[in-house]
Assembly symmetry: C2
Homo-oligomer: 352 residues x 2
């Protein structure tokens, strides 16, 4: 059986094609009586709009934008690289992808960028969630025009966005607690947490998760007071170094923010006095991958930016095609040890 077309619907409802179209696309100017008949016909025949035909007739190429904070060797720089690689694939499907850079932690710049994209008539946007009135207002305007907005990595109030793509940070913290607990094999210990800043929602959530499970399940492992590294390597190095001097029995370190090159530097210096503490950090990047391979750290928790981007783009596409968003399971973080590192997808293989 052929899928019913809008022509079928119109015939079934006893109206012209144009009238049926007006109902489907909510263009208005239709007598309630006719509209009702069309709606019934749609239900009875099980009509579904043919996206391919719709896009064809409009001759339209969608325009998506991804707003990425600046910063090198961070989760964001990695995302940017991945996005650039998605471009050509999207081009085949007539989707143009704009990648916009903004200064990290600068809500004004972010809001301005959104406003600019609004003027350009963009169809969908993804951004790293940032709770600030100006940002929320710019997003509201965009969405009023029908654009789809996806928050990435860090979420915002539900009303402000169409979807959130990212990991559950409390779960990440709890998981790390379990792994650290297992690595103690029943022995007591002390865990040193390193945060960027406790004002960052994701950092606070991770730490809370860690604390919960340590308290409930591993009461012999004590949680020390956190170090604030402001996500800056030099600061992290200095403060971790000091902490390791001051506090002697540290059996585990959990770095739940950025600035890990600083931590790794300290660990390399002190690699001699075995057994070194169990070390867990976030995000699989150049430096953390190297440290894992070198045996300086034990576990990396990763957001899997590849999948995040995949999903974000899928949501944007569905929004642009005016399809209902489909409920997907929340994204789980990956757990990497030395043995299950993914192959580096950096440069193309060249030969083969």
């Amino acid at each position: 059986m052929r899928a019913p077309t809008l022509t079928d619907v119109a015939r079934h409802a006893g109206v012209s094609y144009a009238t049926a179209d007006r109902v489907v696309n909510a263009r208005g100017g239709v007598a309630e009586k006719s509209a009702e008949r069309v709606r019934r016909a749609i239900a009875e025949l099980g009509y579904v709009r043919n996206v391919a035909a719709a896009n064809l007739s409009q001759g339209r190429t969608y325009r998506f934008a991804a707003i990425v904070p600046k910063g090198q060797d961070t989760i964001f720089s990695k995302m940017q690289g991945l996005l650039e690689r998605e471009r050509e694939k999207l081009a085949l499907d007539r989707v143009e992808l704009l990648i916009e850079q903004v200064e990290a932690f600068d809500p004004r710049q972010l809001a301005d960028c959104l406003a600019r994209l609004d003027r350009d008539g963009i169809d969908a946007v993804s951004l790293v969630g940032t709770n600030h009135p100006a940002v929320i207002e710019a997003m509201t305007l965009l969405r009023a025009r029908g654009a789809t907005i996806v928050t990435l990595v860090s979420d915002m109030p539900e009303e402000a966005r169409d979807a959130y793509v990212g990991i559950d940070n409390a779960v990440a913290g709890r998981t790390v607690a379990r792994l650290i607990g297992m690595a103690h094999g029943g022995q007591p210990g002390r865990v040193l947490p390193i945060v960027g800043a406790m004002t960052a929602r994701d950092h606070a959530e991770r730490l809370a998760g860690l604390r919960e499970v340590l308290t409930e399940t591993f009461p012999d492992i004590r949680l020390l007071h956190q170090i604030e590294g402001r996500d800056r390597p030099e600061l992290v190095a200095a403060r971790v170094g000091a902490a390791l001097e001051a506090e002697k029995g540290i059996t585990a370190i959990y770095s739940l923010g950025a600035g890990n090159p600083g931590l790794i530097e300290i660990l390399r210096e002190r690699s001699a006095p075995a057994p070194r503490p169990v070390v867990v950090v976030h995000e699989l990047l150049e430096h953390s991958r190297a440290a894992l391979e070198e045996g300086l750290i034990d576990v990396v928790i990763d957001q899997r930016p590849e999948d995040e981007i995949q999903r974000a783009l899928e949501i944007m596409r569905r929004g642009a095609d005016r399809l209902p968003p489909d409920p997907v399971a929340p994204l789980g973080a990956a757990i990497y040890v030395k043995e299950n590192l993914p192959p580096e997808m950096g440069a193309k293989t060249g030969d083969d």
Copy 2:
């Protein structure tokens, strides 16, 4: 700038639309001179075939098939459920998905099923890789017709299929070794591996990976001789019970095949004599999830069938649309502990 159409190409090459079409779709019957001009025009204009328009004109709905082995509370039953859920989503894009059941480990039935699908003119097929001449022959016939074939979970020779979607089993074994090693916290131990059968390629690979890393990195942890459970719960229960009696100092158990309900039963009976061994099993299913929540086991390695299916379908779609396959990173296995279990996506939420 509007994307160039085949009409543009034809004009640019100074030939008719039909001639350009013949070149693009390799229909033959074109003078080499004309063909060359068309190819040049394509390159110069950067023409890309508009898939949406092509599908529209053919009024065609793609037909995909997924062949799934029978078996309850296994990775396959889970996949079947997931596939059924994909059906409606696919229907929106005019793709019909057939789900075919076959007896597990029955190459003849599998080959027959493939032949039947071939007669039906199917566009793409996914199946669990099974190395058998009859299966390979049926696949060859299908592919000769232009159908795309994806092997799932277990691979086959490269020439026989278009793509493999599944985890790297050696990596899985190595990863488990690391986790078990970490859980020993420097202490010595003995690991009991449970396989289905050493003839199963994936089982053998996992065990080999385990052995490698234990030998290299954790020489104090001894690998005991494996138990063969034939993937059957009763057999696993009996043999594991016997092994635990005979061998006293077991500190870890790695079940790398199926039949885990049997293992879990034994563990529940013996939960008293703490500390129990570290237990790692494969596949997140009802029983393994429950055991993890109950604290009877410690780690579950999962293939993430959701993602496997997603990818397999994406590859099939690209094949059907005659797009070049895009190189994707191999799928990584998920590591689950009690704290990072994904929400159960079983029944629909009912309310809200």
